[in-house]
């Protein structure tokens, strides 16, 4: 780390911080993916986590995923609440026996020294009703601040995980704020430069926060969104239906040829639902039924995935 130029050091720059994490997990054998090109509420929705957590094949990956939480927008007024922020996601299947040690080492790689910080694993069981998924684990605390989620997936899309995957989610802005010692997310140094060359998180995202907050809470076209939800749901089901096929080479076992495109529509439906929720047009009772509808899609996609090559049902070559 000391060989890095100042502006690349994780405690000086947000991008350096992300790069340090990527490098660390690359060294642990993870494939470093880029963000999925769809809007989603959490890195877990990325097919590299949701779908790859299912089935018997080993899978180690890490990636940054922008998380869209329309309801969390605060028009850029709140020091740490945003409708768009970054999560850094690590998934390792099967969960390695030293995953906790790896996690602690990764903190060291971004400048958090376990000799002066109080790092704790505090019970926090994870459940995603929309994904039909749950796991046991912790929220990881550093000096009283929650900085990561650590989960051993037990079930995803309604299916038992066999083997179990370990999932780590870092709240990047929050951690970087801590490491950089700033109290307002928009004051984060993004590029690690000083003076005229310095670009802050605010320079990059503040305007977007204002615009999207207005959009999410006031303007987003609800008639269109209701329609989009329905369309995504229909498309998902249609692609799922169209993807099933008997494979004579596999002794007429059923296989699925379009789990990923179908799952995209599930992601879409989930995000549209979040937007509708932010617009306050979904009542308490309806809310539950929308969540159930997305879950049904996720479960069907999970089932389809288990009948694909990467999902593990067919031989890999």
């Amino acid at each position: 780390m000391d060989s890095l130029p100042l502006h690349m050091r994780p405690e000086r720059s947000f991008q350096g911080f992300i790069l340090a994490l990527q490098r660390f997990w690359a060294e642990q054998g993870c494939v470093i993916l880029q963000p999925y090109d769809m809007e989603m509420g959490a890195g877990t929705f990325h097919p590299a986590t949701t779908l790859r957590a299912l089935g018997p094949k080993p899978w180690n990956a890490a990636y940054v995923q922008p998380s869209r939480r329309p309801k969390d927008g605060r028009y850029g007024e709140n020091p740490n609440r945003m409708q768009h922020y970054y999560q850094f996601q690590v998934i390792m299947k099967p969960s390695p026996p030293n995953l906790q040690e790896l996690y602690l080492k990764s903190l060291g790689a971004i400048g958090i020294d376990a000799a002066v910080h109080d790092i704790r694993f505090v019970e926090d069981d994870w459940e995603s009703p929309t994904l039909g998924a749950w796991g046991l684990g912790w929220e990881c605390w550093c000096d009283g601040m929650e900085v990561s989620q650590f989960t051993y997936f037990q079930q995803v899309a309604g299916f038992e995980c066999a083997p179990v995957a370990g999932e780590l989610t870092y709240g990047l802005e929050r951690l970087a704020m801590y490491v950089q010692g700033v109290d307002r997310v928009y004051d984060l140094n993004f590029n690690g430069r000083e003076g005229a060359e310095k670009v802050t998180y605010g320079d990059v995202f503040l305007q977007a926060e204002r615009e999207y907050s207005r959009h999410n809470f006031e303007v987003a076209d609800t008639t269109m969104l209701f329609e989009q939800f329905r369309m995504a749901e229909d498309a998902c089901k249609k692609y799922l239906d169209a993807g099933w096929q008997e494979n004579s080479k596999l002794g007429n076992r059923r296989e699925h040829l379009m789990a990923l495109p179908a799952y995209d529509q599930c992601i879409k439906a989930s995000h549209v639902f979040n937007l509708l929720d932010a617009r306050g047009v979904i009542s308490v009772t309806e809310r539950q039924s929308y969540i159930l509808r997305v879950r049904e899609l996720a479960k069907a996609c999970g089932e389809a995935w288990l009948h694909t090559e990467a999902g593990g049902s067919s031989p890999s070559s």
Binding site: D118, R120, F121, D143, G144, A162
Partner: protein, 701 residues
């Protein structure tokens, strides 16, 4: 005798599960030892975030040998019987059996079975894996490569190492040899995650505990708790403050650290403008830190106490600074929530309740609030409360549920309502009712006395009870998801402790008509059923107070008793009366009268109602009894009308000599049927006279 040391070393065990897990481990191992005939001298279990440990000392080295004689078939008996005998006893041929002579019944075979006791260490090696596999964690999980196999080990979090040794103090102990899912039991454990992570080789409990302490692990949760409290008090005291003790938080915090290091941090004085309860909830729930009181002001001090898990190389400065940052951010959120809440009047929040479902079948919160308002207004005059204030309080009492602060910290519901009501200039009783209408929450909670609070509290609870009764969601067995028993007990305490006069049937009916009129069935039946639920709760409460609950039945059996205060007073007077000699004898006399009557009623297939004929009395004792009944009835009824139950009981006492004398001298079943009938009618009069106070036949003993 040798000792067992067992340690299950894992990733972090949730704090709330540790104490029970330690106890379960102790119970399961010792129960099984005893079941295997291995009586031990003592056992103690411990838990830290990363380990469950158990020491059992004084276990015999071996099980005792078992000798058993099994009687078999007759010599020369059927071949099938002999084969069965061999199979059951494990003998390889009948020659191994001895023959017992019996000249009368014939000789028969006897098998001497000797079951040598097994070495304890083998018994342990067999039982420990079973215990680990069947351990009752509230939630458990699979992990790692083995999780794809069926039957993979489930544990609360990944299990990494098992230490299991058995042996004498003076000798090198043996490892109890077993393996579960690839984890071999051994004698290696690990110290503190950050300060002493290396492997440690342990022999037995004494060196185990000491080596852990060297490796910065305090094994005993009680020692960790004591250390935290002592240090926290000291830190607070050094600054002139006092620790606000919090046993539940202490339990949790001590389950989050293996090596407690107590530190004190500060926050800005300005935050103290936010209500103390909100500050405490913020610091406690979100940060698991203690708050500190300033004894000079009685209020909170701008300090908090945290428990870290390490001795940091910088003396804890970074940890304190980090925690201060988080607490500052949390408190500014809380302050922001509080100030935001103050900007909206409570009544302006109400429309939102129209969208919030209270219960699928019981409508929205808005509908419920309207019902409570209406019912509270009806109750108001009965409890001496101002109707307008009661209506106002009922309207506002739930509004704080929609505030930011209560959304964040549900435990301050009601209390925040009071603060917000005061802040918007509501009358003090109205504001108090916003908090107190939830009370009493349990048998130890305070009962409100302000009539406004009382009216709203009763209406709130009765609406709940009547509502769930109407949709047939009554508590059954141990299931009471809507806390209806607590609500009923609350009503009972509100009424009796405030000495309120209320017809329960009428009030419940009002609650019913005000609300879920639709599809309720027979309202009279419903409220009667609810009344008997109250009777049951009252019995439970009296039993817990050590009073005689059977007297409740005796009073309710009179019928028409729906004024709970009067029921309680009657029960009380009756209980005192039955403690006297007069009471006991009168009860015996009345029961005797009742018994005779019920036998004769059965025999004659008729009742003996109606006034006896004075002309048919031919004995002095009959006349005296008739006279006494007349006097006592009049006197007791007058006393009951004045609700002076003690006086009614005193009147009853006068009946006793006449009843005793009657049974002494008079033969009821006279040969003359007319006289017999008249005497039975007289007996019936005793029964009805005593019914002025209670149905004596329902009293036990």
């Amino acid at each position: 005798m040798p000792d067992l040391l067992l340690e299950l070393f894992s990733e972090e065990i949730p704090a709330r599960m540790q104490a029970k897990a330690a106890e379960d481990l102790r119970r399961m191992v010792t129960d099984k030892l005893v079941a295997e005939g291995l009586v031990y001298e003592g056992a103690k279990a411990f838990a830290t975030p990363r380990r469950l440990a158990l020491t059992v000392h004084g276990i015999p080295t071996r099980q005792a040998d078992l000798k058993d004689e099994r009687k078999g078939p007759r010599v020369g008996g059927a071949e099938a019987a002999i084969q069965g005998f061999l199979k059951a006893t494990g003998l390889s041929s009948i020659e191994e059996a001895t023959i017992q002579r019996d000249p009368k019944k014939g000789d028969f075979y006897v098998a001497l079975i000797e079951k040598p006791g097994r070495a304890t260490i083998d018994v342990l090696a067999e039982m420990l894996p079973v215990i680990i596999r069947t351990f009752p964690w509230p939630k458990s999980m699979r992990w790692g490569r083995r999780s794809e196999r069926p039957g993979a080990l489930n544990w609360v979090r990944p299990l990494h190492a098992i230490t299991a040794t058995f042996g004498l103090e003076t000798e090198e102990p043996d490892v109890v040899s077993f393996a579960i899912d690839g984890i071999e039991a051994g004698q290696t454990t690990y110290g503190h995650r950050f300060m002493a992570p290396s492997a440690i080789s342990v022999r037995r409990f004494e060196d185990y505990e000491a080596k852990l302490l060297d490796a910065k692990v305090v094994l005993d949760p009680q020692r960790r708790k004591d250390a935290i409290v002592t240090d926290a008090k000291q830190l607070a005291f050094a600054q002139g403050y006092e620790l606000v003790e919090d046993p539940a938080l202490l339990d949790e915090v001590s389950g989050l650290v293996e090596w407690p290091v107590v530190l004190m941090g500060s926050f800005e004085e300005d935050f103290l403008k936010t209500p103390a309860e909100v500050i405490r909830a913020t610091i406690r729930n979100n940060q698991k830190c203690f708050v500190v009181r300033d004894p000079k002001t009685g209020g909170l001090a701008p300090k908090f106490i945290l428990t870290a898990n390490i001795e940091a190389s910088d003396g804890g400065n970074t940890i304190i600074a980090g925690n201060e940052r988080v607490i500052r951010a949390r408190l500014s959120d809380a302050k922001f929530f509080y100030e935001t809440d103050l900007k909206t009047k409570l009544e302006d929040r109400l429309p939102k309740f129209e969208q919030i479902v209270f219960h699928e079948k019981l409508g929205t919160q808005a509908e419920r609030i309207k019902r409570i308002e209406q019912l509270a207004a009806e109750i108001a005059p009965l409890v001496g409360a101002d109707v307008e204030k009661v209506k106002r309080a009922a309207k506002l009492a739930k509004a704080d549920l929609l505030t930011e602060v209560v959304g964040e910290f549900p435990e301050v519901q009601g209390l925040m309502g009071k603060y917000y009501a005061l802040a918007q200039g509501e009358n003090a009783s109205v504001a108090a009712a916003c908090e107190e209408h939830y009370k009493p929450q349990g048998p130890n909670d305070r009962v409100p006395t302000d009539p406004v609070s009382v009216a709203v509290a009763l209406a709130d609870k009765l609406d709940t009870l009547v509502g769930f009764w109407a949709i047939d969601e009554k508590p059954t067995g141990s299931k009471d998801p809507y806390a209806l028993r607590r609500a009923a007990l609350g009503v009972i305490r509100l009424i009796t402790e405030n000495a309120l006069r209320l017809s329960m049937l009428q009030t419940a009916k009002s609650a019913l008509t005000g609300s879920q009129g639709k599809g309720v069935g027979d309202p009279d039946k419903l409220v009667a059923d609810l009344l008997s639920f109250f009777a049951d709760r009252l019995k439970v409460q009296l039993r817990e107070q050590g009073a005689r609950h059977d007297l409740v039945d005796a009073v309710f059996a009179l019928g028409g008793q729906d004024d709970l205060l009067m029921v309680v007073r009657r029960v009380d007077a009756l209980g005192k009366f039955l403690d006297t000699d007069d009471g006991k004898n009168l009860l015996a006399g009345t029961k005797r009268a009742s018994n005779i009557l019920s036998i004769e009623e059965k025999r004659d297939k008729r009742s003996f109602d109606g006034a006896p004929d004075a002309a048919l009395y031919n004995l002095d004792e009959e006349k005296a009894l008739a006279k006494a009944i007349g006097e006592v009835s009049a006197e007791a009824s007058a006393a009951v009308a004045k609700e002076d139950f003690a006086a009614a009981m005193r009147a009853m006492a006068k009946l006793r000599p006449a009843v005793d004398a009657f049974f002494d001298k008079v033969k009821v079943n006279d040969d003359d049927p007319k006289i017999r009938e008249n005497r039975l009618k007289l007996l019936n009069e005793i029964r009805s006279a005593t019914r002025a106070v209670a149905d004596f036949s329902k009293i036990e003993g």
